[in-house]
Symmetry: C2
Subunit: 545 residues, 2 copies
């Protein structure tokens, strides 16, 4: 019986196969990407989410390679965690490798890093696999997809991509390589589904140039552009337009500074030294001579734009006549924060341009017509939509079916469901147990649903704690001590506190109960009283001594 | 010196002049609308927000009338609170009055209700004001705007509107009345700005008919349509299409049932008795014979669709072949919840149609071309954009300027800023102090930023409380009692607890301090220790006895 290739999407929340995909054949494993996900709004207090590596723990020595598609956080951000389990070389293109090195240096792990720089067009033999990275266009330069020749056939993994004929860096997607793959015969295509609900063709990055040109021309004061720190091509466009209109450029925000430095060092970003100024210099110049690149396009309150909106930046202040450009698309869940920040900036006298009213952003992902082109270029036997929520994968799967791939050859799976492939069949094995691994502070995976539920409860109505002493007669001794936060405004709640004291006294005196039973009785009497008085359900604890 | 008319937008959060507008001339006041706002995601634990009525408290006896534009919550939901302060008749059209009566009955206040039914086209004299309600099209039937003839001139307030030439109820907007107003001369137009960032013309409600027809035709199983309970025309469309394809109709969800009952009683909704079934009957019928109307189009976890997505509905279960239609637009802040519910429904085997992929919803508000038509129909001297966030108002104001209204005649203000008008001038008076009035449980306005900040802190990292006894020598007596929730998973944190006990002992023993000072010392030592160990900052309290 011949072996099957197992392809296992792992990941954080929401998107499938985005953060990490495992390819396993016999005793050989390669991994594509190791990224983080950002928590949803109701995952309270969680900093980020990493894939559940449990499956790899007792197979760590089988891992031959970690292949990275591009330098975004959701593809490289969990490398530092994966490195604690898996000791395999990491393969990445030049810019991606530079960004990884920066990350790992921050985490003080550099000594351990076996990072191998590859280029699109290379052919790399790793055990039973032959790896062929091919160039794709995306919202960060130097992105690749991978052709992976396995013992069962050729698999093509697109990474994140769009078919941009006129990318800012002039490096168009490698159509020829995809066509070549199809000539060899592709067993299975795994393709980016992010925009599977968007009809048409995603506009080229260069369409933004016109909008930038116009807004720089019309701006009466400073131009402040917020975008993703990794959107190097956008940074290049801002630089070029600023130069054209005789403006100097200040870079603000930690991640923006880091990425600009790395991208300039490696030659992916061209900013003349003479153009760069710091914020203090910017504050000295005439507003019409100044452009500023900033972080915070997602409304993050502690990034530069968030601080400007709330007038909490140490050296920069919004002034009338400023034009603020949010050159980004709201990530679902961030809309409310972003709109609030737009309103605040308007309040302070800035003009604000954003995607909804100006042509200042395009997506980095393929739309439906590009997806069709990808399928027709590659002509795979089997099709597996990845990179998207279930709704995107379903839509992408349906599109593939409409294009003639038989339904039985299309597999829409969720994270943890192993695809099993041979030359003839694609099936889904039984699900590998796994969960979200929450990172909160320095804790990794130590917080589960119970803690989150407590946080929800506390967020909703706070807590109310009573500390009471009971004498030998089973009577309340003295006054109970009450401690409460997030429940009511204590200074205006004297009556409520007096009532709570009475409730506690009534529950304790003559109850004849003690220990755990008495504590429960006091807690339930208190909870009932507080709900009756306020309609709220704080977390109630009683400590009986 | 002649008196000025003061127009004061009041309101909750975000949108301006949406929930309530006060018109004041001399000793006479009329109010338009009294609505609630829903809290933003970071207003933790808050149920809803009502306008700050403080300005009205010592002027309550001057209020002549409360005019209601239409029956949406953000226009009528705060009447029950306003009635506690102001004792004036409420004027509303028939359906709106029916919905108000339902609300007030729920709040058990009906005895006090002086509700006067009016109709579009009426002319009502109230003190120095002449009120002329005129019909508008919106996403609920029987909506009106108001022409208000005041001693300084004619003011037109559009309410929420769109120019729908083919509304489902056949009742087109009253263009003639608007034109007549302009012939008389309009001093000031206050107009709905919700869609001021949307180019073009909002499609008619009837364009959805085609999409519904197609999906009912194609659906192999049950059709479950979620929409706003107040979107009576949508409910009519679902009814009509279901009837056409021989399906019975079940109504689910409390607000949906209530509104359907009221709208049927008043003749605004036509559903034959024979068509209506309950859920149990629906479960007996062939899926192809069933349509279900449901609440939960905004992803609310406790509404029908939310329960179905999480398989927590008492008598209904998603089955393979169901088509679920989300016939609504995500309100900003709800996107993440809605997408999660879509993914869950797909997981359970349903097909899901929503606005992004099918023509199943249109907005109830005018887009930019309609806004232009409104301005040209009314030809006001002064223009005040209302109903929208600041970003929408700015865009609407700019549009008015592009259409030739001089900048000085346009006023973009925020809630609480009084517009002062006479025949010749529009100016903005000094801001009336006000804030958001949060409703949480039965408490109205008793929660402010301090409580919310505590809830944020608790949501982020929970709390950690230590109760320690100190003997006469100032030494820790026995073991401190530790209480913590929402911080770490206690069962796996034994070492941390032991370390915390040691930290407390070290802080107390030989400190020479007592009382408040000692407590602070223990708290700060504990907070430092916990942060060093976990990278988290729970709310830390020490109780020293």
């Amino acid at each position: 019986m011949s072996l099957k290739l197992r392809i296992i999407p792992l990941g954080g929340c929401g998107e499938i196969g985005k953060n990490m995909t495992v390819f396993e054949y016999g005793d050989q494993i390669i991994i594509i990407d190791a990224g983080i996900m950002f928590p949803e709004n109701d995952m309270l207090g969680i900093d980020l989410i990493i894939p559940d590596y449990n499956y790899l723990i007792d197979k760590a020595d089988k891992v031959q390679a970690i292949l990275i598609t591009h330098g975004h956080e959701d593809h490289i951000g969990a490398l530092r965690h994966l490195m604690g389990i898996v000791d395999a070389p990491i393969y990445a293109t030049r810019l991606t490798a530079g960004l990884i090195r920066g990350k790992i240096r921050e985490a003080k792990l550099v000594g351990e890093l076996d990072l191998r720089t590859i280029g699109a067009g290379d052919v790399i033999h790793i055990g039973d696999f032959t790896i062929e990275p091919f160039h794709v266009a995306h919202s960060i330069p130097d992105g690749v997809g991978y052709g992976i020749t396995t013992p069962v056939g050729l698999i093509v993994h697109t990474g994140d991509y769009k078919f941009d004929h006129t990318p800012v860096d002039g490096w168009a997607p490698d159509f020829a390589k995809l066509a070549e793959f199809s000539q060899r015969g592709v067993l299975c295509l795994l393709a980016d589904s992010t925009n599977a609900e968007r009809p048409g063709w995603t506009p080229s990055e260069t369409v933004i140039t016109a909008a930038f040109d116009r807004l720089f021309q019309e701006a009466q004061g400073r131009v402040i552009v917020a975008t993703f720190a990794s959107l190097i091509s956008r940074i290049q466009q801002v630089t070029d337009t600023a130069a054209q209109y005789g403006r100097k450029l200040a870079i603000t925000g930690r991640s923006m500074k880091t990425n600009v430095r790395i991208a300039r060092e490696l030659g992916y970003l061209n900013i003349p030294d003479a153009m760069l100024i710091d914020i203090n210099q910017a504050n000295q110049l005439s507003p019409r001579k100044v452009a500023i690149l900033a972080t915070g396009s997602q409304g993050e309150p502690t990034a530069v734009i968030g601080r400007l909106a709330h007038d909490r930046h140490h050296s920069l202040k919004i002034q009338k006549g400023d034009t603020v450009v949010l050159s980004a698309h709201p990530i679902p869940g961030n809309e409310e924060m972003i709109y609030r920040i737009i309103n605040r900036l308007l309040q302070r006298g800035a003009d604000v341009l954003h995607e909804a009213i100006a042509n200042v952003h395009v997506s980095g992902h393929a739309s439906r017509e590009e997806m069709k082109l990808m399928i027709n270029l590659v002509k795979p036997k089997f099709f597996v939509p990845i990179h998207g929520e279930l709704r995107h994968l379903k839509a992408h799967g349906q599109l593939a079916q409409e294009m003639g791939i038989p339904e039985r050859n299309i597999s829409v799976v969720e994270n943890g469901a192993p695809l099993e492939l041979d030359e003839y069949n694609l099936s889904v094995g039984s699900r590998i147990p796994g969960r979200y691994i929450f990172v909160d502070g320095s804790g990794v995976g130590d917080i589960g649903p119970a803690v989150i539920r407590d946080r929800e409860r506390l967020a909703d109505s706070g807590f109310f704690i009573a500390i009471a002493e009971v004498d030998d007669q089973g009577k309340l001794k003295g006054k109970p001590e009450l401690l409460s936060r997030g429940f009511v405004y204590l200074e205006e709640s004297t009556d409520l506190m007096v009532g709570a004291e009475k409730t506690i006294a009534n529950a304790i005196n003559n109850s004849g109960q003690q220990g755990r039973q008495l504590r429960k009785k006091v807690q339930s009497a208190l909870a009932k009283y507080l709900y009756a008085e306020t309609g709220r359900r704080p977390m109630v604890h009683a400590v009986i001594r």
